[in-house]
Subunit: 197 residues, 2 copies
Amino acid sequence: MVEENAVKRSEKAGGKVYLALLHYPVYNRNREVVITALTNLDVHDIARAAKTYGVEKFYVITPAKSQQRLLKRILDHWISGVGGEYNPERKAALELVDVASSLEDLIVDLTVEERRKPLVIFTSAKMGKNAISFARLKEKYKKGADLLLVFGTGWGLAEEIFEQGDFLLEPIRGIGEYNHLAVRSAVAIILDRLFGR
Amino acid sequence: MVEENAVKRSEKAGGKVYLALLHYPVYNRNREVVITALTNLDVHDIARAAKTYGVEKFYVITPAKSQQRLLKRILDHWISGVGGEYNPERKAALELVDVASSLEDLIVDLTVEERRKPLVIFTSAKMGKNAISFARLKEKYKKGADLLLVFGTGWGLAEEIFEQGDFLLEPIRGIGEYNHLAVRSAVAIILDRLFGR
């Protein structure tokens, strides 16, 4: 496992990459800050994309203990349970998933573990302060920066949390003004833009 | 609506783009050719990505009448029902969705309607005959070719259907050998590579 990761990193020739999917603090449709519920398919799709693009770890972040237990049950099924025997590719992806109680805790843990702070990059469908382009972020990564890419659920990340980060990644733009991609799709596109061949 | 599409096409400066998601003929995990069941989230995620990247129409293809009726009920809910009032962005995306009984029928219909045959492009996680790169396909599209991008469900498109198409798009590659993206993620990445800014 260690060797496999070593090969991957040298292929990528950059720092380490972590993903976080936040279930709090995020907006609901009335722009109230809420905790959203886990979506099983978010975990699966994002884990598979993470595995495809050499991500180290994908953290599902929720302060709700019942939701943390639910996630662990899903992971157990696919990693040590019958799901893993049935579908080893799914197992390989879900082994990247872990849970955290808050973004703050996760940043501290990663910083202690790696002895340096990763660049914390928020994503959003809208432009905002401290924006960084895909090209500039790719450059920083190639020079060796570790990245923690943060995605929101519900109607997007509550702006109060942007203070904990370094940059806001420029929004994905398609054709025209429509910008309502599923978070599952946004993760896939962003990983491909940054790390795809 | 006509004007809006006209603006979009001139922004894209290419032909028209159609998507098809096939529920038959596709493989199951034992490589038997089967009809797969509709997945509600496939319809939503792919419709939203299609809307983002200026796709004309997204066809869900299944020969099963009960599945066709199920799709129509989902669309009714979000387009003319309460779902559309609750979430107009979802409505705008799902208005692109339509049903077809087979790929063959769809190709005939599009050819009659547009008075020319679109390039039929299959997608797969594996390389095969008649492969085309993203760069070459983009070029053909920019020169004005209409594209019908065909995606499979289950364990992928049954190879027998490749005879109906013009090209097989090169597989998405990330880091290493893992190539088990969800079809929802693959659609998002392919649209972004071909039409993203």
